[in-house]
């Protein structure tokens, strides 16, 4: 499985700067927020948690359709399906590679971007933690969505329509945990972790079913 993870990271870096594209997008999304809502620092610091989370979500969404599409198009997915690695293993590997090239950079970038939006000082820790725990969820859910839409040409829009509703619980809990005004962040963090673990444990099997259906 490591071979897949390493290869996917290499491929992501080689084709048009892999994770730097994601980071650039994240930056732009956050940057245009004040252009849209005004530069009132108070307002910005109130909406910062939600917007950082939404920005993270949208940036993750960008690279989802590449997860299986490229391998599907050149026959590698079929070849992998006949290899000793089970489809669920392939799904886990791809989701992990996606997280390393997308979720991880996003989590790190959220800190300086939080400063742009005048995030409260106490919130930085929670922002980092919730993103660190939540972005794997986003990758695993995204991999599931990609597995479903892999056979559809130009399935990117459909992919977003399918995946965004699935992102809602994590978004709600994550943003809530980060914003001030919640007095039980640990409880929310526990919930986010639970969702994350559940997704990591169960979604690969769902992804495998979807891949199997598409490969028939």
């Amino acid at each position: 499985m490591w071979s897949i993870i390493l290869r996917d990271i290499k491929l992501a870096i080689r084709s048009g700067g892999g994770f730097s594209l994601t980071l650039a997008f994240f930056l732009i999304v956050i940057m245009i927020v004040p252009f849209g809502v005004g530069a009132n620092l108070d307002l910005l610091s109130r909406i910062a948690p939600g917007l950082l989370w939404i920005g993270a979500l949208l940036s993750c969404l960008l690279s989802l359709d590449r997860i299986f599409q490229l391998d599907w198009e050149d026959g590698t997915l079929e070849a992998l399906a006949t290899s000793p690695i089970p489809l669920s293993g392939i799904a886990i590997a791809k989701a992990t590679a996606h997280w390393i090239t997308t979720g991880l950079p996003i989590t790190l970038a959220s800190l300086p971007l939080g400063y742009l939006l005048n995030l409260n000082y106490e919130a930085y820790f929670w922002l980092f933690t919730t993103l660190a725990i939540g972005t794997p969820t986003l990758s695993f859910i995204g991999t599931f969505g990609a597995a479903i839409t892999v056979g559809i040409r130009r399935g990117g829009l459909l992919l977003s329509l399918l995946v965004l509703p699935l992102y809602i619980p994590t978004l709600m809990l994550g943003a809530q945990c980060v914003s001030k005004g919640t007095n039980n962040p640990l409880e929310l963090l526990a919930l986010i972790s639970a969702i994350s673990l559940m997704c990591i444990a169960l979604l690969p099997f769902a992804s495998a079913i979807a891949l199997r259906a598409n490969l028939k």
């Binding site: 390493l6 080689r14 026959g75 089970p86």
Partner: protein, 204 residues
């Protein structure tokens, strides 16, 4: 006996493509599947390779290596990186010897996207060798290749069978493999679909 198939029906959706297939593959045997386009050669090969399996936990038979219409070659990786990837998946140790056998040494650092069709096919063959699988399933391996490369492919298949492997190859082109047996797929064309489409039942 490596593969023994009896009375197999292959369907795509509800349509029966081939019926009552019986096939027997022994060690060292090379079986050529012949038949016109659409007769079910690809369907049969994919079925044997395990791609039509309904059970998601079916691990592909570790003894089978499948090569379909597409090469499975990533154009943004070098030749070496492509093969290194497959060596990692199949945990093989013969990467170096395979590269030597197929004369790929001078292409080590060439980007796979810059290879000619023949070179890409050699890369595909290298992947088959790396899998260390006993049974090779190849779907039209010599399509759009020149004579020299076609010769290379059939030599590789020959060698593989002689060393104790086996292969099922579907092809239009005469591969000049004297020890091979031929299976004509058209004999399995279904005359009558005994299991009717469930949606048509009861309408007539």
């Amino acid at each position: 006996m490596l593969i023994n198939i009896e009375n197999l029906d292959c369907r795509r959706g509800n349509k029966l493509i081939i019926a009552n297939v019986s096939l027997c593959l022994k060690t060292g045997e090379c079986l050529i599947l012949k038949g016109p386009n659409g007769s079910g050669k690809t369907t049969l090969l994919r079925h044997i390779a395990g791609l039509n399996s309904k059970n998601i936990n079916d691990l592909a038979n570790a003894d089978i290596a499948y090569s379909g219409h597409l090469d499975g070659v990533k154009s943004t990786l070098t030749v070496y990186e492509n093969l290194q990837f497959w060596a990692g998946i199949y945990k093989s140790k013969n990467l170096e010897s395979v590269i030597k056998t197929l004369n790929l040494e001078n292409l080590y650092t060439r980007m796979a996207g810059e290879l000619s069709a023949g070179q890409k096919r050699r890369l595909g063959l290298a992947r088959m060798l790396i899998t260390n699988a006993k049974i090779w399933l190849m779907d039209e391996p010599t399509v759009s290749l020149d004579q020299a490369t076609t010769r290379l492919v059939s030599d590789a298949i020959s060698n593989h069978c002689q060393k104790g492997g086996a292969a099922i190859i579907s092809t239009h082109v005469d591969l000049d493999l004297p020890e091979s047996s031929v299976l004509d797929i058209t004999q399995f064309k279904p005359h009558k679909d005994t299991k009717t489409d469930p949606f048509l039942e009861g309408t007539f």
